[in-house]
Structure formats: C-alpha cells, structure tokens
C-alpha cells in the first residue's frame, strides 16, 4: 500500500518538475503554505524574480507539511528533487540524518560566496536549526511560538480586569475558574498540546525535554519530560477538567473552534493564530500576553521555543543552479521581505532587524500583542534546554504524547502514569531512530 502511493507521488513529481525550456534557470520551491499564506509566498518569489533576471523561483504548493515532505522524498528518490522544500520543525532530526540528501545552508552560502551573518538572526529561531557549533542547516522561514490569548469579554463578565492577563499558572487557574463561574463554557484550552504544554513548558522553565541537550548532542538520547513540574501541570489540568476550567479541544489546532467561538476564556496557542483569533473575536476583544509560568519551578521564565517550518535545500541538481538558490535565501532574509512576512502572516521575523523595522513602522501599536512572540523568544539567551529540540521520529513521538495526554483527559490514566508511559514509548522510537542512523 505504502509503495503504491509512494510511486504514484513519484510519478506526479516527475511530471511536475519536467524541465522547462526557459532561458532563465528555474528554481523549484515546494511549500506547504495554503491560501493567504501561499499568496504571500508567491509575492515573495515574484519580488525576487523581479529583482534579477538570471533565476526564476517557482513556488509550488504541495499540500500539508507531511504531504510536501513525502512528495519531496519521492521526487528525490526519482532523481527529480526540487531545489528547496519546506519542512516542519519536527522533521529536523530526520532531515539531518538524511546524509547526501540535503545541502546545509552554511555550506551553500559559503560555496556560492553569498554574504551571511548568523548573528543577525533571532537566537532560538537560528538555534533550532543549527548544529551544536552554530552552523545553520536549513533556512528559518515561518516560525511561531506559543503565546497566551484571552477573551476580554468573558473576563469582564467575571468581574476581572480584561486588559490584564495572568502571568503565572495559579493566577490563570483562578481567573479561569472565575470566568467559568460567571458562565463561560470553558476556562482554558491549549492548542497543539504537546508543543505548548510539554515542549514549551520545558523551555520556559529551563527543564530538559531529552538528554544530550535535547538531542543536539547526538541521536542516542532518552526523553526526560516526565519530571515533577510537568506531572504536576498535567495533573492540575486533569483536575481542572472536572469543572470545565480546562477543556480539551482536540489535537493540533482543533481547540481553535472553542476559543474563536467564544466558549473559552483562555487559550495557549501559536502566535501565528493571532490574526485568525482577532478576526473571530474582534481585535478589541482579544487579549494577548506571554505564556504563564509556575513560580514554584522558576523565579523568572527562560525563553520559549519555536514551531513552524524551514526551507531545506536538496542535493542532486546541477551545481550552478545552487547559486540562484543562495541568492534567493539572501533575498528571503532581507529586512523588507521579513518585515512584510511577519506583518502579513503573524509569524515571527527571523531577524532582529525585521522586528525593529516593524516596531518603527508603528505596526505593534496598531496590532497590540503581535510583538509578544519575539519578546518570549528573546527573553533570555537560550540555554541547552531552551535552544530547541532535535528529536528523531518526532512526528510519531508527538503522536504518542498526544495519545497519552488524551488518556489523562478522559480519566483513564493519571498524569504520572501517562507521562511515564509516553517517555517509555517515545524512547522505543528513539532507539529505533538511533539504530537506523548509526
């Protein structure tokens, strides 16, 4: 079954990337950005194509992240790889392990003699995708980080100050309980629960997710997230769910319908959801702030980590074409392009200069809260625990954590049993990954 699908994807890929008779060198750019985001990608490519005449970047929408990756893999195996493919952050370790398939960005830029300054990038954005000695592997493109959203109307109804969000978990619990007592159907709901409650909670409190600096130091690692603070957090949510202070809305972005529909007082969600939330609730009814922290774990929060995707350059194309790829990467990181990307989409800019330019334009005054993501990411210099995650078979491990957490929400397991089991099952997957990549 797998093979049937894979071969047909390969066949489609071959057809899609048949060489065209252009005088310009075409650069295939496969991405997973739908609708409005895809339009913005097209605009960026058009801008680059206009800026010079030698190369032409052709963006192709390939479906969801996994679909895009599968298509690129099939094309690579059929020796018809695109130059650039957008891969989500959880695929990072698997991409790194694919020796001979990827062309690391630092090497690409050096080979093409393009100017490249690692220091201009935002720390945790750059760090997530670089080697332990700071060499960039893939170009950060769309990055986001979890922030706290609240429904001002529901807070006001509960007699709370709608403009002041909670800064700690106990405060959030208290406010959410009050909102529920005042008639809200749900106090708090998380989006992408594993990313927000386990991965980012760890970075925010400077707790390790896995051994060897969260996997940056090698593939023979073990998961570490079944620690006391996270067991306590998950157990607290489970207790909250009895009186609807906590309501589980489903995996990935499925809890959006709860918060955007006006049921929930609070949501921890991707900063990239800001525009959609503002549209659903009304800009003036949406409150935004930093994620809460647990004061009994850390005195001041560390920094958050990102989610999203990067652009990987694939091997297997004629050498001179990669010059154009490098030029496109430079164009992509330029301040005007990044500032526009950040403002249009809600993703964080990848360079500090783009964030400053956006500030100067007065964008954050008009859309309050859109600067919180950058603030969280740059709150402190990243530590080993908050630089990012480099976990093999991460897609399946996230599924495992989702499954185990759902067993907590449904009351089948307590938090400790579930997290221990998640670590155990996750370690099996890591062992398998390590064995496959020795």
């Amino acid at each position: 079954m797998t093979r049937i699908l894979l071969s047909s994807v390969a066949a489609a890929a071959v057809l899609a990337s048949a060489p065209a008779a252009w005088a310009q060198t075409e650069i295939q750019f496969w991405h997973a950005m739908p609708t409005n985001l895809g339009e913005t990608v097209n605009e960026i490519a058009a801008g680059f194509n206009k800026s010079q005449s030698e190369y032409k970047v052709v963006p192709v929408y390939k479906g969801t992240y996994p679909e895009t990756l599968t298509a690129a893999i099939a094309a690579f195996r059929a020796k018809q790889a695109p130059h650039i493919v957008q891969v989500f952050e959880v695929g990072t370790a698997n991409m790194m392990a694919a020796k001979g398939a990827v062309y690391p960005i630092y090497q690409l830029m050096a080979d093409a003699k393009e100017p490249f300054d690692p220091k201009s990038y935002i720390g945790p954005v750059y760090g997530y995708y670089s080697t332990t000695d700071g060499k960039l592997l893939s170009m950060p493109f769309n990055s986001s980080t979890p922030v706290l959203y609240w429904n001002k109307e529901l807070l006001a109804k509960a007699g709370l100050d709608p403009n002041k969000g909670p800064t700690t978990w106990p405060e959030l619990g208290e406010m959410a309980k009050k909102a529920v007592a005042a008639g809200a159907k749900c106090g708090f709901t998380p989006q992408w629960q594993t990313w927000t409650l386990i991965e980012n909670y760890g970075a925010w409190h400077n707790l390790p997710f896995a051994t060897k600096a969260n996997g940056f130091g090698g593939t023979d690692i073990e998961l570490k997230f079944n620690d006391q603070p996270r067991i306590k957090l998950i157990q607290m949510m489970a207790d909250w769910s009895k009186d609807k202070t906590f309501v589980y809305g489903g995996r990935q972005g499925k809890s959006d319908s709860l918060f955007h529909g006006g049921d929930c007082a609070f949501q921890i969600a991707s900063s990239g959801s800001a525009a959609a939330a503002a549209k659903a609730l009304g800009q003036d009814k949406l409150g935004m702030g930093m994620m809460p922290y647990s004061p009994d774990v850390i005195a001041k929060p560390q920094n958050s980590i990102i989610g999203g995707a990067t652009l990987w350059v694939l091997q297997g194309r004629p050498k001179d074409e990669y010059k154009g790829v490098a030029k496109f990467m430079t164009y992509l990181s330029s301040t005007p392009v990044q500032a526009k990307w950040h403002q249009d989409t809600g993703y964080v800019p990848i360079t500090m200069a783009a964030a400053d330019a956006t500030e100067k334009e007065g964008f954050y005054k008009k859309f309050p809260g859109r600067d919180i993501a950058v603030k969280e990411l740059t709150l402190n210099p990243p530590t080993e625990n908050s630089k990012g995650l480099r976990i093999g078979n991460f897609v399946q491990i996230r599924d495992v954590v989702d499954e185990e957490l759902e067993d907590v929400w449904s009351g089948k397991k307590d938090a400790k049993t579930a997290l221990d089991e998640a670590v155990k099952r996750g370690n099996e997957l890591l062992k398998k990954f390590d064995a496959a990549n020795k």
């Binding site: 071969s7 990756l69 695929g91 001979g100 319908s257 529909g261 399946q396 989702d402």
Partner: protein
C-alpha cells in the same frame, strides 16, 4: 449441431489477456513486492542509509503491545462496519424495492453518499458531532447525552463506524437492489399463495437467493473496513483519543507518510495484506459453502 469457434493462432489468446496481466503486475504485484522488500529494510526516508535487517521490523511490531491492541480494535471495527453496513443497506434495498411511486428518486438519493470521498465524509460527520459547534452533538446534549468524541474513546469509535458505514451503504445498496430485482417474482408469488407472510417470504426465499450477493458484499466490506477507511480516521480522530480509533491501516499511513518510517510501515502493510488474504480465503472456503448460486 453445436458450432464452435476456435482460434488457431497460438499467441493471440496471450495477447488478448496481456493488458489485464500487465495491469495486475504493474499495479498489484510490483508494489506488493516492493512492500515486502521494504519491510526487511531499515533506511532513512531519502533512501540514503539502507540496511538489510531481516525481520527486525516485524519483531518490533510483535513485541509492541500497542500493535496487538490496534489489531484487536481493527477486528472489532471491521466486524461492526461490515455487519452494520450490510444490515442497513439490505433493509434500505428491501424498502426501496417495494416503493412504487418515486422509486428512482429514492434510489438516486441513496446512492449519493458513495460520491463523497472518505476524508470528506469524515469531516462532515466530525462537523455534525463536533462537541462545541455540532448540530447533532447539541441535539444530544438537549436530551441529556453528553457526546464528546474528542475525549470519549467509545464515542469516537462509534462515530468512525457510523461514518464508514454511511460512506459504504450506497455501494451495498446498489448490489442488494440488483440482487433483489433478479429474484423471480413467480417464486415469491407462489410462496404468497401457499400462505407465507412477508417475513417468512423474506427469510425463506429472498434471503437465500440473495446470499451470493451478500457473500460478495461481505468480502468487499471487510476489505473496505481494513483498507478504505483511513481517510475517515485521518480527518476525524487521527487514531485518538488515546489509541481508541488507531486501526491498523491508519497506523500504516501514519507511520509511513507522517512518520517517514518506511520499513516499519511496510512491515505493517505486509501483515495487513496477509491478514486480508487469509480472511478472504477463510470466507471463500467456509462461508461460500453455505451460499446458493
């Protein structure tokens, strides 16, 4: 006198069946062979780091209690989908067969669900039963049933069974209706004259005469439940909550296409293939004996 037409040409028959053979080889045997080959390899997704590991992928699966849980779940799921799907569509076909006025309208409407892709069917049912915005979930809450398939595993399983059955009913319906219409009316009339009531006529005459159709549909429905339902699971529950809807074919898809674990996923599809071949064999060997053609 009987007149026989024979071809003296030696190669012509082979030539005439060649297209069918080629299609079978290219689209069934080749991919199956590749799947078997992949299942004994461990490699990174890009194919750069390929290692032959004998049956390691299989032993990983057989040492994983979750895999057996998933297999058990698949059996329950398939049994439910096949039995509910066949029963519901037989009922509808018998009803539609009796309708005199507006029969074609009924038939057309009953065939519609088949035009809906499984993934879309999943989205549709998910929307109806969505705990926060779903119409049906709201109606159920009014009569005091809290329906939340996002947390409640049994409800999630029920929901994917319903969606899968609904999606397949049209197909079953068409075959049952055709089967019903090919039963000679004289038999039924004779039974009626002998004093058999509608129930008796159905069980003693119609049902046995429908058994070839029913048997064919049983095989098809089991295969559908095993292979064709991952779109529904994908768009509705993604195997959750917990692992309560993690059926084997979803696991194959998820590990192979989301997790890029081609070896493990291939091993699972080889097992799945073997199970379905075995099931089909058992059905033909034992159930077919009781089928009247």
């Amino acid at each position: 006198m009987e007149k026989r037409v024979t071809f003296n040409e030696r190669w012509l028959p082979y030539l005439l069946v060649a297209p069918q053979i080629v299609i079978t080889l290219v689209f069934f045997f080749w991919p199956s062979g590749e799947a078997i080959w992949q299942s004994v390899l461990v490699e990174d997704a890009f194919g750069g780091n390929s290692k032959f590991v004998w049956f390691e992928n299989f032993s990983h699966l057989f040492s994983d209690p979750n895999y057996f849980a998933s297999a058990r779940l698949t059996l329950v799921f398939s049994a439910l989908v096949a039995s509910l799907g066949l029963a519901a569509s037989l009922l509808l076909a018998v009803m539609a067969d009796r309708v005199i006025r507006g029969a074609s309208a009924y038939k057309t409407i009953l065939v519609w669900p088949y035009a809906v892709a499984p993934a879309v069917a999943g989205v549709l049912w998910g929307f109806l039963f969505n705990p926060s915005v779903g119409v049906v979930a709201w109606a159920l809450s009014v009569i005091g049933i809290e329906f939340n398939y996002v947390i409640n595993g049994n409800q999630a399983l029920l929901l994917i069974v319903l969606a899968a059955v609904w999606n397949q009913i049209s197909y079953n319906f068409l075959f049952f209706l055709a089967g019903l219409q090919s039963i000679p009316k004289s038999l039924i009339e004779a039974a009626a004259i002998d004093g058999a009531g509608p129930g008796r006529r159905f069980w003693d005459i119609v049902f046995p005469l429908l058994s070839p159709t029913g048997f064919f549909l049983l095989v098809i429905n089991i295969i559908y439940a095993f292979f064709g339902t991952f779109g529904i699971v994908g768009s509705l529950t993604q195997g959750g909550p917990g692992q309560s809807t993690n059926i084997l074919v979803w696991k194959v898809y998820n590990d192979g296409f989301r997790g890029q674990d081609l070896g493990g996923s291939s091993a699972q599809s080889v097992i799945l293939m073997a199970v379905v071949i075995l099931l089909t064999f058992v059905q033909f060997r034992f159930i077919e004996r009781r089928v009247h053609y």
